[in-house]
Amino acid sequence: MILAATIWFITIVTTVVFAGRFWWFPESVSAHGDALDRQFVITLAVTGVIFILAQVALGYLILKYRDRPGAKAQYNHGNNRIEAIWTIATTVLFYIMVLPGQWTWADIHINQQQGNPLVIEVMGQQFVWNIRYPGPDGQFGPTRPELISDSRGNQMGVDFDDPAGRDDLVLPTMAIPVNRPIELRLQSKDVIHSFFVRELRIKLDTVPGLTIPLRFTATKTGSFEIACAELCGLGHHRMRSFIEVLSEQDYQAWLRDMTED
């Protein structure tokens, strides 16, 4: 009896804290963020109902069918029709639930946004982020691992002798214009890291040897923390940087400032 009550109590507390949003996602500031959040809420609603029904049923059954004097158990090996019904019902329900999320995913990673994205390179490194802009010529210069040298200030191994590389900017933090499609090209120079910005609803690994594109559009200005989300060594917990989302005007001014330095 206490067990049924305990199961119900845990169910109620869990439901209340989820539904009351005492701890919740930060506000989304990217074009695709709302779709992700909606898919989470749909999933939460469906699984929440299943969670409540299953736990309440479990508590109810052990309460109702507890051993009492004179009680008799049924001799029952099951029912194929019921098995078929709940098999089909859960299959249909689960697939209806996950299908919309696949479109959301496809919109982010497959159906590439139209228009010319602003391309920025990101290179993970134990335990800092390096961000590269192509400079006024709009061209990234070639990079070579042999040129990488933190002590000489060339964290990404840019060939600054190359005409395209001469004006490249490498910075420890990022700034982007609001409402413009961005394409990050994620790379790593040592181990796997993961580029995670909560408010932008973006997370993708930086894998040494690969260049992985990540497209998004920020919809609000502000300053947000970049975190590393893949264990990369002893400094993993402090591999932090910032992304500033600026108005187009501020962005251009920021870019000019940076280039003149």
Partner: protein
């Protein structure tokens, strides 16, 4: 039926150390897991402590670990080393050994009416290789640089590059790989033994569809082990070659660490490690949980005094989970840079695996429905298993969708999900099995009052620990952070972390009640009858504890399925599988 013939040994060494008796080997596995689970748990104390009180001086820690905690203050690398060892010890040395190597070894032969495993010598070898693997893993604590800091998943190239990538990634990582390779060999041998025994050594009348669901769960688990551990073994060997022989399976060219160009590697793929690891790793989740499902089914039926609801559906669901388990590894890699098309394929396949899991839950509820439920300790833990299985399983439905996984991947939401389902649900299966079979294994009952106290604190405790971790994940708290001080957004979750740490300390303390009960009952427990739970399966027709050859000179003959409870017209509310001349429904 063929016989696994061996004489009862007389000397201590051959009887208790290098025994070929499946029962002794089963107990050896259980004791190994018991030692391992307490080590793993103590590591989680350090983990939880450092998250809430980083930088605190603990002089005892300083004297125990002068390198990892100089002056008694844990370093970040020490935290990650403890985290890695916690995960590795729990997944391999506890969740894989206790339910399968322990209970499976002890009870599979008995429940099918055999005198031993098909290959008793191989069985002994499996255990001792596992033991060697355990010793190898633990020895990583004592080498220069300490245990590896790359997590139990050991992603390359972090795990492949050696000490240049971080402390513990030298000799410690080598020992870790060696340990897992040995463990894989032992598991492969064990799997062969389980499969052969189930197929060849069943007693007369023990048809496949009369086997207890526990036997089915060990059988399916053995098939998974046979197919999965070979891949882990191969992956481990390749990783070791990368580290020691200069190959480049997992290391691409042009890497720069500590401002130095890595010149002796090129052309490898870090993602190859993830493919191999998770091709093993996802089935491994089911290796951990399937035997728990078997025990839960068994215990729910015995203590509800009712046949299993949908026996065949349960068997098919286990096979469904097992087969599907090999087609879903990519859902661990949605954020790894894998093609976004494959993410959709893996997502849809993973969704399918939720269906047999749901079927099992429905059938457990159906088994209780219309029963006459007794609340002995084994039953409490079996009910707890169902509750935790539901909670943990539903969390998976957020992570199997790449869209929702974007935010939740590698956050505490994942930690919550897998701890609930493959951690504590599986552990509840182990506890249910321990309280249920202890009388048979040791001839004495465990203390029921202590069992109930243990259950109550643990059941409420694990919910208090792992439910809030979902919220940490929704705020965006990444996992595997040694400290939570560097980010301003982690300020709002400090109170939640404190709550979790307190809940964890209380829950861990309660496990010493279990330990005390276990040890005390071994010597002072009430003598157990042959069949204290009025159960039907073959282990309950022989003495507690069973003699060396289990069934004596005469083979048991089986007439019924494993779950004939409350048969109408019978005086007793259960029919032993060996009861002759009784009418039951064949299903």
């Amino acid at each position: 039926m063929s016989h696994a013939v061996h004489e009862p040994p007389s000397s201590f060494i051959w009887k208790y150390i290098f025994s070929v008796d499946h029962k002794v080997i089963g107990i050896q596995y259980l004791l190994l897991a018991l030692v391992a689970v307490f080590i793993g748990m103590l590591l989680s104390i350090l983990i939880r402590f450092n998250l809430v009180w980083p930088g605190t001086e603990l002089s005892i820690l300083g004297s125990l670990f002068p390198v990892g905690a100089p002056g008694g203050v844990m370093t970040a690398e020490f935290y990650l080393a403890m985290l890695t060892m916690h995960g590795t010890i729990m997944v391999f040395m506890v969740l894989t050994t206790a339910p399968q190597g322990g209970f499976g070894n002890y009870f599979l032969p008995i429940q099918i009416g055999a005198r031993d495993m098909a290959f008793p010598n191989l069985n002994m070898l499996s255990f001792w290789i596992t033991f060697l693997s355990f010793v190898t893993l633990i020895s990583a604590f004592f080498v220069t640089g300490g245990p590896p800091i790359s997590g139990w998943t050991a992603y390359a190239p972090l795990s492949a590059l050696g000490e240049i990538a971080g402390p513990g990634l030298g000799l410690g990582q080598d020992l870790w790989i060696l340990s897992l390779a040995l463990f894989s060999v032992a598991s492969l041998l064990g799997a062969l033994n389980f499969i052969t025994t189930t197929l060849d050594l069943r007693a007369p009348g023990m048809t496949l569809m009369r086997m207890p669901l526990t036997v089915w769960s060990w059988f399916v688990t053995a098939i998974l082990g046979l197919l999965a551990f070979g891949v882990l073994l191969a992956a481990g060997v390749l990783l070791l070659l990368d580290r020691l022989a200069g190959t480049s399976f997992f290391i691409p060219g042009g890497l720069v660490l500590n401002d130095q160009l890595v010149i002796d590697h090129k052309g490898g793929s870090p993602l190859l490690w993830q493919h191999l690891f998770w091709f093993f790793g996802h089935p491994e989740v089911y290796i951990a949980i399937l035997p728990g499902m078997g025990v839960t089914s068994q215990v729910l039926s015995v203590f509800s005094r009712k046949p299993i609801f949908g026996y065949k559906a349960m068997v098919y669901a286990m096979f469904g989970i097992g087969i599907m388990g090999f087609m879903v590894w990519g859902h661990h890699m949605f954020m790894s840079g894998l093609s976004p098309y494959s993410a959709i394929a893996f997502s849809l396949l993973t969704t399918a695996i939720a269906v047999p899991s749901a079927i099992k839950t429905f059938n457990w509820l159906g088994t209780i429905w219309g029963g006459r439920v007794r609340f002995d300790s084994p039953m409490l833990f079996a009910i707890g298993f169902v509750s935790l299985f539901v909670s943990g399983g539903l969390g998976g439905l957020f992570l199997n969708q790449p869209a929702t996984d974007i935010f939740l991947h590698d956050t505490y939401f994942v930690v919550a999900h897998f701890h609930l389902i493959m951690g504590v649900a599986a552990i509840f299966g182990i506890f249910a099995g321990t309280y249920f079979w202890f009388p048979k294994m040791f001839g004495r009952m465990m203390n029921e009052g202590l069992g109930k106290v243990h259950f109550w604190i643990t059941f409420v405790g694990v919910n208090a620990i792992f439910m809030p971790m979902h919220f940490l994940g929704m705020v965006g708290n990444p996992r595997r952070y040694a400290e939570l001080t560097a980010y301003s957004f982690l300020g709002e979750v400090q109170s939640l972390h404190l709550f979790i740490t307190i809940a964890a300390f209380i829950t861990i303390a309660a496990q010493f009640i279990f330990l005390a009960n276990f040890i005390h009952s071994l010597f002072k427990g009430k003598k157990a009858a042959e069949n204290p739970w009025d159960a039907t399966t073959l282990e309950w027709v022989i003495p507690s504890p069973p003699p060396h050859d289990n069934f004596g000179p005469v083979d048991p003959v089986v007439y019924h399925g494993a779950y004939e409870y409350s048969v109408p017209g019978e005086e007793a509310d259960f029919l032993l599988q060996t009861d002759k001349d009784k009418e039951t429904v064949e299903h």
